[in-house]
C-alpha cells in the first residue's frame, strides 16, 4: 500500500502517527502524575467547614462528623486525626458509619478511636453497611428482616431488631462512645438541648417499617430541641419526602463519588452508577432536604488509588442562630 503513496503523504502519515502517539503519551503521563499526586495528597485529610443556621441554636454549636474511615490511619493510632479533632474544639462528635472494614476484625480499632474521641466531646457512632454486614447475618432490608423475625406487615415489631445485641456495640459503649441504633440521645450543650438520632437500617425498604416509631419520637417529641439525624447512607432522603427530617442531617457512604471531575462532578457511586448527581443522587456536599441542610461527607478512607480530586475530609459544622 505504502508504495502507492507519494513521499509527502508518507511524511504526513508519519507526522500524524507521531502526533497521535505523542498525545497519548502526554495524556497518559499527565494521568499518572494526577493519580500519583492525588494518592500522595490523600495521605492527609482536609477540613471542610459548613455553616448551618438554626433558630434553636442560642449559642454557636460545633459538630464534627467523621465518616467512612474504613480502618485507615492518619499517624500512629490515628493520633494526627484525633489531635486535629481536639484542636477544632467540637461540642459534639458524630461518626456516621463504616469507620471499620469489619466490626468483628477491627473492633479494637473502633473502640480505641471511640475512647479517644469521647474524651474530647460527647461522641456518637452510627453503623454503616460494613458494620451491619459483619454483625448481622442478613441484610437489613424489609424482606430479610421480616423473614428473620417471622413478621408480617400486620404484626411487625420494630423493637425486635434492636434486641439483637452485639459485642461491637458493647466494646464501643465501654470505650465511652454512644452507639445509636434507631434511637436518640439527648444532651445539654451550652445551655441548649440537642437530640442526636442514629438510624441503624438506612436501607430505604426497611426504614419506615423498622424505624418509624423511634424516628417520629425523635422528630416530634420536644420539638424545641435541636434535632440532628445521623444516617450512614443518604438513600432515605433520596427516596422519601418528609416535611421534617431534623435541623441537620449527616450522611456518608458515597465516598464523594470516588473521582470528581471538574464541571461534571462526582464520577461514580456503587448505587448511582456513572455521574450519580446528574440523576438526582445525593453524593457529596451540602443539600437542602425539606428546607434543612443535609451534609454528605466524602469520608476519610485514603487507600483507594482512584480517589482523585477528592481528598479525604473531616467535616466541621458550625451551627448558628441565623
Amino acid at each position: 500500500m505504502d508504495k502507492f503513496l507519494s513521499p509527502k503523504a508518507k511524511k504526513n502519515i508519519r507526522a500524524a502517527k507521531f502526533f497521535a502517539f505523542g498525545m497519548i503519551f502526554v495524556c497518559l503521563a499527565t494521568a499518572i502524575v494526577i493519580v500519583l499526586c492525588s494518592y500522595i495528597g490523600n495521605r492527609n485529610f482536609r477540613e471542610t467547614f459548613y455553616n448551618v443556621s438554626s433558630i434553636k441554636a442560642d449559642s454557636p454549636l460545633r459538630v464534627i462528623q467523621l465518616s467512612d474511615l474504613h480502618s485507615c490511619l492518619y499517624g500512629d493510632d490515628n493520633q494526627k486525626l484525633i489531635a486535629r479533632v481536639e484542636e477544632l474544639k467540637p461540642d459534639v462528635i458524630i461518626c456516621t458509619g463504616d469507620m471499620v472494614n469489619s466490626a468483628t476484625d477491627d473492633a479494637d480499632f473502633a473502640a480505641d478511636l471511640g475512647r479517644k474521641l469521647s474524651k474530647i466531646a460527647p461522641s456518637y457512632y452510627v453503623y454503616g453497611n460494613n458494620e451491619v454486614e459483619s454483625i448481622y447475618d442478613f441484610p437489613l432490608n424489609e424482606k430479610e428482616l421480616d423473614e428473620h423475625f417471622g413478621f408480617t406487615k400486620a404484626n411487625r415489631d420494630e423493637t425486635k431488631l434492636l434486641e439483637i445485641k452485639d459485642s461491637f456495640e458493647q466494646k464501643l459503649e465501654k470505650a465511652g462512645i454512644k452507639v445509636l441504633k434507631n434511637e436518640k440521645d439527648t444532651i445539654e450543650v451550652k445551655n441548649m438541648t440537642v437530640d442526636v438520632y442514629g438510624v441503624l437500617n438506612s436501607n430505604p425498604s426497611s426504614f419506615w417499617s423498622y424505624s418509624e416509631k423511634s424516628f417520629f419520637d425523635h422528630i416530634y417529641e420536644n420539638s424545641d430541641n435541636l434535632k440532628i439525624t445521623a444516617v450512614h447512607e443518604p438513600f432515605i432522603f433520596e427516596e422519601f419526602s418528609h416535611d421534617f427530617w431534623g435541623d441537620l442531617m449527616l450522611c456518608g457512604h458515597t465516598h464523594g463519588g470516588v473521582m470528581r471531575v471538574p464541571v461534571l462532578g462526582p464520577l461514580y457511586t456503587h448505587e448511582g452508577g456513572l455521574l450519580p448527581e446528574r440523576s438526582g443522587g445525593l453524593v457529596y456536599g451540602r443539600y437542602d432536604v425539606s428546607g434543612k441542610p443535609l451534609i454528605v461527607s466524602s469520608g476519610l478512607e485514603n487507600k483507594n488509588i482512584l480517589r482523585i480530586n477528592n481528598q479525604p475530609e473531616l467535616v466541621v459544622i458550625d451551627i448558628n442562630k441565623f
Partner: protein
Amino acid sequence: MITALLQKLIILIIGVLFLVSAAIIYFRFKNVNRTEAAQIFKTTQYFNAWLILLCFVVTIVFGVFNHFELKKSVHAIISLNYSEASQAQNSNGTRYNMAEIICDEVVDKAIEKGALKDVTTKELRDCLVVYPCVQGGVGDESEYHISTEFAVEYHASKHTSHLDSENVIKLITSAYKEYYIENYTDNFGLASEKPNFDEMEYMDIAAYFDKETLSILNYLYGMAEKNNSFVTENNTTFNSLAGRVYQFKETQINQNFRSFILQNGIVRDKEAYVDRLSHHNKNVDFDRQKNGVSFDLCNQAIDMYSEEMTRVVLVPTWDEAGKYYMGRTKVGIDELSVLATSYSDYVTSNEKEIMDNNLLIDKMSAGNEDSGLHESVDLMADAIYDSIKGFEKEAIKAGREYSSHKMNQCIAVSIYGISIMNELKTLVLFAIFAYAAFMLRVISKKFPKKV
C-alpha cells in the same frame, strides 16, 4: 510562592521567545524581497506535530501552576438580609460598619475556630480586603447608594500560603456572622437554673416566682413594643402571651400561693425567718425616720420663702401659635414641693412595708407545723415553677419565631472559588499564544541572515 514564580517564568520565556522571533523576522525582512517573504510564510507548515505536542506539554505545566496560583485567591459575598440594612444600620438600629467584617476580633475568632497554625492576626488580616459590591457616587444625591452586599477578598501571602484559602474565607465569614449575632441581634437569655427550693423560705420562693414572671413579662413587653401585631405559629401575639403570664402571676402566685402561705403561717425555720424580718423592719424604720426628717426639712424651707418671691417666677413666653403667655417655671419653691411629696411617698411606702412585715411576723410566729401543709406548698411551688418554665419556653419560642421572621437569616454568605471555565479560557489563550510564539520562531529561522 514558588508556583507564582514558575508560572511567571513560563509566561516570560514564551513572551521572550515571541518578541525575539518577531524582532528577528523584522530585522531580517530587508534581506529578502516581498515575493520571497510571501513564499516563506506560504510554505511554512502550520500544523506541526512536534510543536503542538510541545505546546500541549507547556500548557499543562502552565495550567498546573496557574491552578495553584488561582487557588490562593478566593472571595465571598456577604448579603445583609434584614430590613434595616437598606438604611446602613445593624438590626438593632446602630450604624453598620463594613470594616468590622475583617476587624481584629473577627480575624482572631476565625483563627481560633479553624485552629489555624503559624499565622498571626495581622498576617491574616493583611490578606483580606472588604468593599461594597455596588458603590454609588458622591457627586449627586441621586447617585447615593447604600450597599447591602459586601465582598471579602482573600489573597494568600507568603505567611499564609500554607492555609486553605477556601477554608480561610469560610472561617472569616462564619466568625463575622457569630460576631454580628453576638453584638447586634436579639438574645433569648431568659432561662436560668432552678434554685434549690428545699433551702428557701416559702415567701422567698414567692418572691423568686415574682422575679421570674416579671423578667418574662419585661421580655414580652419589649418584643411587643418592636412589633405588637406579630402572630406566632400558635396564633398568639406577644401581648396575649404577656396577658396570660400576668394573669398567672396575679392568680396563682399572689392570690393562691402567697395567700396560702400567709393564711396558714407556713415557714421552714420560724425563728430565723422572724429574726430576718424584724431586722429588716429595723432598717426600713430607719429609712422611714430619715425620709420623715427630710419631708419636715422641705416643708420648713418652703415656709421660709416669702410670698413675694413666688410671684416673680412667672416668665413671659410664647406658645406654638406664636402667642405670648406667662409661663411658670420650676424654681426653688417647686423643686422643694416635689421633693417633699416624694419624701412623703417614701414614708408611706416604708410604713406599708413595716406593716406587711409585722403581719408576716405575726402569722409566722403562730407558725403551722402541719407537715401536710408543707407538702402541699412544696407541690404548689413545683407546679408553679413548671408553669413559669412553660411560659418561659413559649416566650422564647415566640421571640425566636419573630427574630427568624425579622432577620430573614440575617446574613447570607456565598463563597466564590476558582471558576473552571475561566481557568480553561486562560489555558486556551495561553496555548494559542505559546503556539504562535513557537511558529514565529520556526518562521524566523527561515529568513536568511544575509542577502
